[in-house]
C-alpha cells in the first residue's frame, strides 16, 4: 500500500506500508527514531505522540492508512540540537528531562496547547500532560516549564 502525507511539512510518499500497520510502526520503520514508544501500544503512555493535523494523538493507535493526505508532525517540528525551540530550552532549564523517553511526546502536547492557548493556567497545563506517563520526573518540572512559556507575551513561543 502506498502512503502520501506531509511529514514535518515535507511531502512524503512511502510505498511499502501495510494496511494492518499503525503509524508508529511505519514511522520507526522509516527511521523516524524521534518517535519513541511501542511498548504500551494502547494509547496509554503517550510516548509515541505525534501531531495529526495539529492535534496530539498516540501514533500507536492510529492506523497508518488514516494519515493519507494529512499532516503529521514529530518532535522535529520544534527544533534540532543546535537550534532548540524556546519550549525545549524551558524544559531543560526546569529539569523536566531525565531519561528523556517521554519527552518528545510531552513537548508535542505542550506545544499544541500553547498554539491554541498561549496563556494556559495551571489546570489546563496539568490536563494537557495527563496522557503522558513519566516515571522519572514527577511532572512538576514540565508544568513549571510550560507555565514559564505561558507568561511570555503573545507570539513569543
Amino acid at each position: 500500500m502506498q502512503l502520501s502525507f506531509k511529514l514535518n511539512g515535507s511531502a512524503t510518499q512511502w510505498e511499502d506500508v501495510y494496511p494492518g500497520e499503525n503509524l508508529l510502526e511505519v514511522l520507526r520503520r522509516h527511521d523516524c527514531w524521534e518517535v519513541k514508544g511501542n511498548n504500551c501500544t494502547n494509547g496509554e503512555c503517550g510516548a509515541c505522540t505525534i501531531l495529526l493535523d495539529g492535534i496530539p494523538v498516540p501514533s500507536c493507535t492510529v492506523f497508518a492508512a488514516r494519515v493519507e493526505g494529512r499532516n503529521v508532525d514529530t518532535i522535529r517540528l520544534l527544533g534540532d540540537p543546535d537550534h532548540l525551540h524556546p519550549l525545549q530550552q524551558a524544559f531543560l532549564r526546569h529539569g523536566a528531562v531525565q531519561c528523556g523517553y517521554c519527552i518528545p511526546g510531552m513537548l508535542l502536547s505542550a506545544h499544541a496547547l500553547l498554539v491554541r492557548n498561549p496563556h494556559p493556567n495551571r489546570d489546563e497545563i496539568q490536563q494537557s500532560l495527563s496522557g503522558h506517563l513519566c516515571r522519572c520526573t514527577g511532572y512538576l518540572q514540565q508544568i513549571e516549564a510550560i507555565e514559564e512559556m505561558a507568561r511570555l507575551p503573545e507570539g513569543a513561543e
Binding site: 511498548n39 531543560l92 531525565q98 523517553y101 518528545p104
Partner: protein, 769 residues
C-alpha cells in the same frame, strides 16, 4: 573556603539537547541489516516440570532461524542479579530450565526474520507440563510439607533451598524481650507491602551483533554493563575479552535494569546464527517477567521509657522473593540496615527474618532497596508510640534520631547479605530537615485544625524521617578516565551508568570544578566496556558519591599535568599557577589557554598525552537524611484518600547540581505516592497476573499531584566529592509512612496494608465504626 563556580550550579544536562529533540539515542533507535527478532515463550503454569517441548510446527514456519529451550542451551547455574563478584544472590537460575516456577517464567525463545513470524512460532510451540503443587503465600513456603521450588542439584548460595529459604537472619543486640517488658510504652503492628513494578517508560531491550573481529557486541538498556559482561561471559563460556557491552541512553531503570534478563538469549542467537538479534519486552512482559519490588510482611515492636526515649526495637521480616532469589538477601538486609540505625539510642535491637521462594513473579532491586518496606513499618510504629504517649510524633523523633558524630551498632552488624562496615555519621542535617520542613509545612498550625470537614470528610497530617546510604562500603569500586584534546576540551570516560539521572552531567561538573573550566567543555562517554574504565554501575545510591570521587581524583591528576606543562612554559613552580575558566594564570597575570597547552603537549614540546585514570573504593556509606510531611483529605464515605500538601526537606550533603537533585527527589516522591495510593500487581488464585497493563496498574499522572515543596538542606560530607552524598533513592521511602500517618491522624486508623486504595480505607473505616 574556595568559591565554587561549577559545583552547586544547575548546569543543563549535557545530553539534554539530544533528548529534547528525540535523537536516536536509545537501544532500539537503531537497526542492522539481517537483524533477527526474538520472542520468548513464557510459562503458563505456576509450578511444573517440562515433560516435553515440541517445536516441530514452529520450526517449519517461514523465516524462523532459531528456537532455544532447555534442551539446546548450556546449563549453568547463575543469578540474574547484576551485583559485584561473587554475587550475594543465590545461583538458582538457568538460561532455560526443565522446570518452570511462575506464570511468566522462561520456557523457550524464537528468533525469526520478523516479529510476526517469531510470535506465530512462539504460539505454535507445544509444551507438555507436569504440574506441581505451587506456593503463593509466603507463610506456606516454610511449612513442613511445602513443595520445594528449587530442587535442582546445582543451586548454590541459598540459605536452605529444601525449605524454600533464600535467606535467614536473627541479629540480636542486647535483650529485646526483657527491655520491651520493662518499657513504659509499647507499640506493635504488622505492616504489609505489595508487588510493585518499576515501570520504566522504556522496557527492557537488548540488541546483539558480531563486530568485524567476530567479537560479541551487546547493546543493552542496562544499569550494570560490566556485570552484564562478566555474567554473559560466564554463562556462554566466552572469554570476557570477546564481549563488549554498550549502554546507550537508558529510558529509566529504577533498579529493574540491575538484572541480566535478555542479554544471554540475544547473545546465543547471534553466536549461533552470526546475525544481529533483538528482544524487546512488551509492557505486559515487563510487568510479569522483568522484576518487581519485594512484598514484605514486617512486624515491628517498639518500647520506650516514660520520657519517650526508645529502649527496644524489634523488626521481624517475611520477604517474598518469588520464584528466584535475585537480590533477595541483600534487599532484606537493607530493610534493617537502612532503617534501624536512624534510632540509634535504643540499646536493645533485634532484626530477624526470612526470605522465601514462592511461585510468583520475581522481585529484584527497586529504588529504596528494602528500606521502603522497612520505613513503612518503622515510621508507622513510631506514630503509634507517639499516640500512646500523647506526644507530638515530631517530638518523639527528635528525641531519638541519630546525629552527627554518632554511630549505630547496626552499621557493623548488617551489610549487603553479610556483615557491614563500622562508620560514624560525619554529616547529618536531620534536625534542620525537621525544623525547616515543619515550618514550611506549618506543622503546628495544621495540627491544631479540626480533623473533620463537613459531614463526610476528614483531614490529617503525618510525617516521617528517613535515611539511606551512599554506595556499598568496601565492595563498590568506580573508576574514571579523563583525557584532554589539543583544543583544551576533555573526554571523560566513565563506567558510571547514566540511566536518566543526569550523572554524566554531575560527574562532568565535578571534573570541571576540579580543573577550573566550564562543564560544556566535556564530552562524556558512558558506558562502553571496551572504552570505559570499570564501574560497578548505577545502583546503591553510589554514582555521585563514589564515581564522583574517582572523577575528582582523575581530574586532580589532570590538573597537575596541565599545571606542569604551564610551569615549563612560564618557567615557574606549577604550584604558583591558577586555572580559571579554562585559562592558566601566573602570579604576574600572564595567561595561557588550555588550547595552547593542548597544542604544545600534543605537537610542540615535551609531547605527552594529558590524561589520567583513577579509581575509588568506597570506605563508608554516608547516609543522606530527609523529613517528609503530608496533609491528606479522606472521603469518609468512599475511602478515597487525596494528598493535599507534601513537604520534603532533604540533606544530600552538597548538591552538585541542585536542579538534578530536586529531580531525583520529585521522581522518587511521586513513585512513592504511587506505592501508597494505587500501585499493586494482582494475581489470580493460579498465580496469573491480573493487571499487567496501564489500564489497571495505575501510576500517577500530572493530575494526581499534591502541592509539593522541596527544601534542600545542605551539609558537608567530608568523605564525598565536594561534600556530596546520595539522593537517588531516599525519598521513595517517605510517602508510605507519611501518608499512612496522616490517615491515622485524620481517622485514628492505622493503614497497615499498602496500597491504601479507596476500598481498603473504606473497609478499615467501617471496621472501626
Amino acid at each position: 573556603m574556595v568559591s565554587r563556580t561549577v559545583v552547586g550550579q544547575s548546569v543543563d544536562k549535557l545530553d539534554g539537547p539530544a533528548l529534547v529533540t528525540g535523537q536516536a539515542v536509545y537501544t532500539d533507535d537503531f537497526s542492522l541489516p539481517g537483524m533477527l527478532f526474538g520472542k520468548i515463550l513464557w510459562s503458563s503454569r505456576a509450578h511444573a516440570r517440562i515433560r516435553a517441548i515440541d517445536t516441530f510446527a514452529a520450526e517449519r514456519l517461514p523465516g524462523i532461524r532459531l528456537i532455544l529451550h532447555h534442551g539446546n542451551v548450556p546449563r549453568v547455574a547463575y543469578t540474574t542479579a547484576g551485583q559485584g563478584f561473587p554475587e550475594p544472590s543465590p545461583y538458582d537460575s538457568f538460561i532455560f530450565d526443565r522446570k518452570v516456577r511462575f506464570v511468566g517464567d522462561r520456557v523457550a525463545a524464537v528468533f525469526a526474520d520478523n516479529l510476526i513470524a517469531a510470535q506465530e512460532a512462539v504460539d505454535l510451540i507445544r509444551v507438555e507440563y507436569e504440574d506441581l503443587p505451587a506456593i503463593f503465600q509466603p507463610e506456606e513456603a516454610t511449612q513442613p510439607n511445602a513443595p520445594i521450588i528449587h530442587d535442582e542439584e546445582e543451586i548454590r548460595g541459598a540459605f536452605d533451598p529444601g525449605h524454600n529459604l533464600v535467606s535467614h537472619l536473627d541479629l540480636k543486640i542486647g535483650d529485646v524481650e526483657q527491655s520491651l517488658a520493662q518499657a513504659t510504652y509499647q507499640a506493635e503492628g504488622t505492616w504489609i507491602t505489595q508487588f510493585a513494578q518499576h515501570v520504566p517508560m522504556e522496557t527492557h531491550i537488548v540488541i546483539t551483533y558480531l563486530d568485524e573481529w567476530s567479537r560479541l557486541v551487546v547493546r543493552s538498556s542496562t544499569q550494570v554493563p560490566f556485570h552484564a559482561r562478566r555474567i554473559i561471559s560466564r554463562l556462554l563460556d566466552l572469554p570476557i575479552q570477546k564481549v563488549r557491552v554498550i549502554k546507550p541512553r537508558v529510558g529509566g531503570g529504577f533498579g529493574g535494569k540491575q538484572e541480566i534478563l535478555l542479554e544471554d538469549l540475544c547473545a546465543l542467537a547471534t553466536l549461533r546464527t552470526r546475525r544481529p538479534a533483538r528482544i524487546e519486552l512488551s509492557r505486559k512482559e515487563e510487568f510479569v517477567s522483568a522484576r518487581l519490588m519485594h512484598p514484605m510482611k514486617i512486624q515491628v515492636r517498639l518500647g520506650a521509657d516514660s520520657g519517650g526515649q526508645l529502649q527496644a526495637m524489634e523488626m521481624r521480616v517475611l520477604a517474598n522473593t518469588g520464584a528466584y532469589g535475585t537480590h533477595g538477601s541483600t534487599v532484606f538486609f537493607n530493610t534493617g540496615s537502612k532503617t534501624l540505625p536512624l534510632y540509634n539510642k535504643a540499646s536493645h535491637v533485634r532484626f530477624v527474618g526470612d526470605v522465601v521462594y514462592t511461585n510468583l513473579p520475581v522481585p529484584g532491586a527497586y529504588r529504596g532497596y528494602g528500606a521502603t518496606e522497612g520505613y513503612f513499618a518503622l515510621e508507622c510504629a513510631m506514630d503509634q508510640l507517639a499516640a500512646k504517649m500523647g506526644m507530638d510524633p515530631l517530638l518523639l523523633r527528635r528525641k531519638n534520631h541519630i546525629r552527627e558524630g554518632e554511630t549505630s551498632p547496626i552499621f557493623i552488624k548488617l551489610g549487603e547479605g553479610r556483615e557491614g562496615v563500622d562508620q560514624t555519621v560525619q554529616s547529618c542535617g536531620l534536625d534542620r530537615c525537621i525544623e525547616l520542613g515543619m515550618k514550611a509545612f506549618k506543622w503546628d498550625e495544621k495540627r491544631k485544625n479540626p480533623r473533620r470537614i463537613g459531614s463526610d470528610r476528614a483531614r490529617g497530617v503525618g510525617m516521617s524521617i528517613l535515611m539511606q546510604g551512599s554506595s556499598i562500603p568496601r565492595v563498590d569500586m568506580a573508576a574514571a578516565n579523563l583525557r584532554m584534546a589539543e583544543d583544551g576540551s576533555f573526554h571523560l570516560f566513565l563506567g558510571a551508568t547514566d540511566i536518566g539521572t543526569g550523572s554524566d552531567t554531575i560527574l562532568a561538573q565535578i571534573a570541571a570544578e576540579t580543573i577550573g573550566l566550564p562543564t560544556q567543555r566535556f564530552t562524556v562517554h558512558s558506558s562502553d566496556t571496551d572504552f570505559s574504565p570499570f564501574d560497578k554501575g548505577a545502583y546503591a545510591s553510589s554514582t555521585t558519591y563514589l564515581s564522583g570521587q574517582a572523577v575528582y581524583k582523575a581530574a586532580l591528576a589532570v590538573r597537575k599535568q596541565i599545571l606542569g606543562v604551564a610551569g615549563l612554559w612560564f618557567h615557574v613552580e606549577p604550584s604558583t599557577l591558577e586555572i580559571c575558566q579554562g585559562v592558566v594564570f601566573n602570579r604576574q597575570g600572564a595567561r595561557l589557554t588550555l588550547e595552547e597547552i593542548g597544542y604544545r603537549s600534543y605537537y610542540l614540546a615535551d609531547q605527552q598525552q594529558i590524561e589520567a585514570s583513577a579509581s575509588a573504593l568506597s570506605q563508608a556509606s554516608p547516609p543522606p537524611f530527609s523529613a517528609h510531611f503530608a496533609e491528606v483529605e479522606i472521603d469518609l464515605e468512599t475511602g478515597i484518600v487525596r494528598p493535599l500538601d507534601y513537604v520534603v526537606a532533604v540533606d544530600c550533603g552538597v548538591a552538585i547540581n541542585p536542579e538534578l537533585a530536586r529531580g531525583q527527589v520529585l521522581g522518587s516522591l511521586i513513585n512513592g505516592i504511587g506505592f501508597a495510593l494505587s500501585e499493586e500487581l494482582l494475581f489470580s488464585s493460579r498465580g496469573v497476573a491480573l493487571n499487567p497493563n496501564f489500564l489497571d496498574y495505575k501510576i500517577l499522572t500530572s493530575l494526581d499531584l499534591p502541592r509539593i515543596e522541596i527544601i534542600p538542606v545542605e551539609t558537608n560530607e567530608p568523605t564525598g566529592p565536594y561534600g556530596a552524598k546520595s539522593i537517588g533513592e531516599i525519598c521513595i521511602n517517605g510517602p508510605l509512612p507519611t501518608l499512612a500517618n496522616a490517615i491515622f491522624d485524620a481517622t485514628g486508623i492505622q493503614m497497615k496494608e499498602a496500597p491504601f486504595t479507596a476500598e481498603r480505607v473504606w473497609r478499615a473505616l467501617k471496621r472501626n465504626e
